[in-house]
Amino acid sequence: DVKVTQSSRYLVKRTGEKVFLECVQDMDHENMFWYRQDPGLGLRLIYFSYDVKMKEKGDIPEGYSVSREKKERFSLILESASTNQTSMYLCASSQPPGQGAVYTFGSGTRLTVV
């Protein structure tokens, strides 16, 4: 069964902490994505990566960075966590269009910053 695995289901961090959210996929997908989901705002793209060491900003990259050192792993980093980053974070992967661009999501990480 193909999977996208997010390292934590629930996470509580303090304001100012550096936070790492990890995502691993076992489907050899080229593309990986980080979204956040907030009530009333839907899913918004933070960053995505279409190859190892390649990244592009999404719609709301401020306060976040990412790392993709290996094809299967895509990390989201909150450099200095703030309360307005309390949210549900969703990782996804896909192949490029033309190779079957179906998204597969992880189960999400619900982050609370106190």
């Binding site: 839907g42 899913l43 969703l90 269009p97 079957g100 179906v102 998204y103 999501f105 999400g108």
Partner: protein
């Protein structure tokens, strides 16, 4: 960029009823996907349907790309169908990221 609108925003059904969810998009797309988010937050891909009709059990989807809409049909609904249904499309043709609609929240009661 593309605008993705879904209707209705909320839907309450009795178990066994049928329903149709609609997704309108503002520009031509070549990658339209439907997702179901269960009450625990897991998003499951239901259909990749840039055009035409597909069926998977009690669910089916139709995309009319020339008229810029897609429909998701749920027949004989079950309580496990409850959750939020999203459609999503790339902001421009060939782009690999998806823009999500605001979703239709479905509650199926026994």
């Amino acid at each position: 960029g593309i605008q993705v609108e879904q209707s209705p925003p909320d839907l309450i059904l009795q178990e066994g009823a049928n329903s149709t969810l609609r997704c309108n998009f503002s520009d031509s797309v070549n990658n339209l996907q439907w997702f179901h988010q269960n009450p625990w937050g897991q998003l499951i891909n239901l259909f990749y349907i840039p055009s035409g009709t597909k069926q998977n059990g009690r669910l089916s989807a139709t995309t009319v790309a020339t008229e810029r809409y897609s429909l998701l049909y749920i027949s004989s609904s079950q309580t496990t169908d409850s959750g939020v249904y999203f459609c999503a499309a790339p902001p421009r043709r060939g782009f690999q990221k998806l823009v999500f609609g605001t979703g239709t929240r479905l509650l199926v009661s026994p």
